[in-house]
């Protein structure tokens, strides 16, 4: 036995800052079995050698074998590496003694008592900050013995720890894309990922020159997937073959690996890589800012802005702050409800408020009264709803707060197109990060007011207050009435003509109450009945609202051009190789959706293109809640409508179209299906 120990320990080679040796896991070879060989590497303290992907610099060891005839050696089974930071670069490698193991298959006909000799030309790079390349020819002779007397060698423990660090190959194949300057990987949330999510500093891509290793890894997750993204290396050449991802579980110190396939599934930049959190926040801020220009918000904002500017400077800031608090608070309230409901397992997305006919009904009342107030038909005084005061004479802090709340309520239907990305990301984040996105959205909405208060020079751009303001206010009533009409239409789509009748009756009652409100000075006779009339009227209005909300939806009249979405319909259409599929996820309260349908999806040219290209048009209507559609949206990382997806005939990967469609864009997408 002593003889064999010597034979496996034949050749440690000393080079600058490193010792290398060819070693075997067992002391001998048993005929008909394979054995483990390994390159044992012992760098000096603080020096390191490299993994298969060395990172931003460095080189992995290379081995060139000389083997007996009919023998073979497998690839190195790389143990997962450590992350080593060198200045502004990141390397992947090993510090300390380790073995890189391989499986050796000896020649088939071996006789006990023979020796088998192998040798290898090894070259490596060993680095601290500076690097020293080295090379050596290492050899090893192993006796052939019977299985009874083969023993582990002294290197068993090194092989053991290499084995523990060898990533376990997962059955699921991940997908990767290199679009938008990001290397993004999507893994199915099954197997080990069911209840574990990798951490960003323990993720390694196996191929060099693909990612920028020093850049942050961004991890996001949905119910069915985990997505990992890192910026591409500036030296990425565009080609990737045979790439895998390794991730290490910090708790168990177990490593897993997934082989990856290229996909074009995700074509939009924002989806290819989940935008970095900071970018999501900025998008949210920008989206909030854009909301100010929406027809339903603009009247509220502009009148408020004029009043704030015309008040003494020292009152402006408290008012702007109160307004901001009102906006941000309301956003957080709605977001908390949304996130809480989602956490409770409800399939919901942004815009969910408008899926309830009751809330749409309430909004109709609010818009209508607001319109009446702007028209000067009624001056809502007293404590009756703060927004009324703020729109007219009261410039107090409380009025500003309620204007903020009102702005948020009226803004919620008008989700600006690129808010979809931020909100989609927000609901999938941990709740505290998600709330941050909604806060930024609110800040964006409140920003013009804050700017006006804190940068008084902006106020000088606004015209001086004067009698024209009354005219302006009255003018602003008309976009509000139009918004009301739109909401009535949404309600009609959600319910039926009866509900519209109820709600319009409610509006008439409200108008009557307003009229009544103006009368007492002139018609004393009425005053006795006034209180009971008001009470009765309010009850009547509420009853109308409740009735409207409870009306069952109409059977939708079927348009022959499209099919209603269900997962089965989609699958059936996709399974037919003679047909391509165009999916449109929409909702009546989604302004962007309606504009797109009008502009791009209702023309004769579009219908013609569907026919000539044999495209099945499937439409999912999310006007009311529909978990099937929520799931479908989630499968594209979306949490809101619109979503347009095109599936080519050949069963190839689906293509997501932008959220703002043009006729040409759609025709091109459909036309390219052949």
């Amino acid at each position: 036995m002593g003889l064999w120990v010597n034979s496996v320990n034949a050749n440690p080679v000393q080079r600058d800052h490193i010792e290398v040796e060819l070693v075997s896991r067992t002391q001998a070879i048993v005929p008909g079995t394979t054995i483990e060989l390994g390159l044992r590497i012992l760098p000096e303290t603080h020096w390191h050698t490299y993994w298969q992907n060395p990172g931003d610099s460095g080189i992995a060891p290379t081995l060139t074998w000389s083997l007996p005839e009919n023998a073979s050696i497998g690839e190195i089974r790389w143990p997962y590496p450590e992350r080593i930071e060198i200045g502004h670069l990141v390397n992947y490698g090993y510090e300390g003694e380790h073995v890189l193991p391989m499986t050796f298959t000896p020649p088939p006909a071996l006789v006990v008592g023979e020796t088998v000799a192998v040798s290898v030309d090894a070259s490596w790079l060993v680095c601290r900050i500076e690097c020293i390349p080295g090379e050596a020819t290492l050899s090893l002779s192993l006796p052939v013995v019977t299985s009874q007397i083969n023993q582990p060698s002294q290197f068993e423990s090194l092989f053991e720890s290499a084995e523990q660090r060898y990533p376990e190959l997962q059955a699921q194949v991940g997908q990767f894309s290199t679009e938008a300057n990001q290397f993004s990987v999507r893994l199915p949330r099954t197997g080990v990922l069911t209840d574990w999510t990798p951490t960003s500093d323990r993720i390694f891509v196996t191929t060099p020159n693909v990612v920028d290793h020093a850049k942050d890894v961004f991890i996001s997750q949905g119910e069915t997937w985990v997505q990992i993204a890192q910026p591409l290396s500036p030296y990425f050449s565009g080609e990737v073959n045979d790439i895998a991802l390794v991730a290490v579980d910090d708790v168990t110190q177990t490593a897993y690996t997934w082989s990856l396939q290229k996909t074009d599934l995700i074509t939009e930049a924002a989806q290819t890589a989940p935008p970095a959190y900071a970018m999501v926040l900025l998008l949210a801020l920008g989206g909030g800012l854009l909301l100010n220009l929406m027809p339903c918000v603009f009247p509220v904002l502009s009148i408020k802005a004029l009043h704030v500017v015309s008040t003494p400077a020292r009152q402006q800031r408290p008012q702007a702050i109160a307004y901001t608090v009102g906006v941000v608070g309301s956003f957080m309230f709605i977001a908390s409800v949304l996130l809480a409901l989602r956490a409770g397992g409800q399939a919901m997305g942004w815009g969910f408020q408008l899926q309830s006919p009751l809330i749409v009904g309430v909004l109709i009342y609010v818009f209508f009264i607001m319109g009446l107030s702007l028209s000067g038909f009624v001056t809502i005084g007293g404590q009756w709803m703060g927004w009324g005061q703020s729109l007219t004479e009261d410039h107090g802090v409380r009025g500003s707060f309620t204007t903020g709340v009102l702005a948020t309520i009226v803004a919620s239907p008008c989700t600006a197109p690129f808010m979809g990305v931020a909100l989609g990301a927000a609901v999938l984040m941990p709740w505290f990060l998600g709330l941050g996105v909604f806060v930024m959205l609110g800040l964006g909405l409140a920003l013009p007011m804050l700017l006006l208060a804190y940068l008084p020079q902006l106020g000088r751009w606004l015209p001086k207050p004067g009698p024209w303001m009354t005219t302006f206010k009255e003018l602003m009533a008309f976009p509000i009435y139009l918004s009301t009409v739109w909401l009535v239409w949404v309600l009609a789509r959600q319910t039926s003509a009866s509900a519209v009748a109820y709600i319009l009756t409610g509006l008439v009652v409200l108008a009557f109450l307003c009229w009544l409100h103006k009368q007492p000075e002139r018609y004393r006779a009425l005053s006795g009945y006034r209180h009971s009339l008001v009470a009765f009227g309010l009850i009547a209005a509420l009853a109308m609202l409740a009735s409207a909300a409870r009306t069952p939806p109409n059977e939708q009249e079927q348009d022959t051009v499209w099919l209603n979405y269900s997962p089965e319909t989609l699958q059936a259409a996709r399974d037919d190789p003679t047909q391509a599929v165009f999916v449109n996820m929409t909702a009546d309260w989604c302004v962007t959706c309606l504009v797109n349908e009008q502009v791009a999806l209702s023309s004769d040219a579009f219908k013609e293109a569907l026919k000539t290209n044999q495209v099945v048009y499937i439409k999912g209507d999310w006007t009311r809640r529909d978990p099937m559609i929520t799931d479908y949206l989630a499968s594209f990382d979306r949490n809101g409508v619109p979503l347009y997806v095109f599936y080519p005939k050949d069963g190839g990967p689906p293509r997501v179209l932008p959220q703002i469609l043009t006729p040409n864009l759609v025709l091109e997408a459909i036309g390219n299906s052949q």
């Binding site: 200045g87 500036p234 050449s237 920008g286």
Partner: protein, 208 residues
């Protein structure tokens, strides 16, 4: 009138916001204007990118103690490329040293000239980038790290010196010499086919 003004305010605010979020990315991009630089050479002469407008410029990051640099100098591969670039392609070849004082590869002007002489190198000039400003502007990571800038001062190549990342001289003859190939393609008025490659070598020892 009123609405117009308010719109103006918002457009201005949006514009401000957009300006604010544009990240200042210094990393060079092939096909884009090359990053500017202003560095003194071993003779004390100041060189700026703009000085070389109308000429092709090759940048070579170096560290004479780096084994990968040694590979290409002791085999004369680098010197031959410098001469070919100059003689056949009329190229301005700038060797850049970004090692900070006290780190491997840092040299005085005299030492740098001595190295040029003893190695029979033929750069147009050796630039001393002690503070690493030029290196960082180009996101130079290793030595040798190579760049080609065309006559219109557009970056047309960035990456390694050749295609086999090793410290073995024997590999040079097997490898594609990217800079030479690139200059040939430019001379034939063709786009450079491999314009971005993996740079390999020793990491550059920048000042913190």
């Amino acid at each position: 009138m009123k609405m117009g003004n308010l719109c103006k305010v918002m457009v201005a605010a949006t514009a401000l916001l957009c300006l604010g979020i544009t990240p200042s990315l210094a990393a060079p991009v092939v096909g884009q204007p090359a990053p500017a630089f202003e560095v003194v050479d071993t003779k004390g002469q100041l060189h700026q990118l703009a000085d070389f407008a109308g000429q092709t410029v090759v940048l070579e990051w170096t560290n004479h103690d780096c084994p990968f640099v040694k590979k290409h100098y002791s085999s004369s591969n680098m010197q031959n490329q410098q001469r070919t670039a100059k003689d056949a392609h009329d190229v301005v070849w700038l060797t850049v040293i970004s090692s900070s004082p006290g780190t491997q590869g840092h040299v005085s002007p005299e030492q740098a000239d001595e190295l040029t002489q003893s190695r029979e190198a033929a750069p147009t000039a050796v630039l001393l980038d002690e503070d690493g400003q030029m290196g960082r502007a180009y996101d130079a990571r290793v030595t040798p790290h190579m760049y080609i800038i065309d006559a219109s001062q557009t970056l047309v190549y960035m990456g390694g010196i050749d295609s086999i990342p090793s410290a073995r001289i024997a590999d040079i003859s097997e490898a594609t010499q990217y800079v030479m190939e690139g200059l040939k393609e430019m001379a034939a008025d063709q786009p450079i086919s491999e314009s971005i490659t993996r740079p390999y070598g020793c990491s550059i020892k920048y000042a913190d």
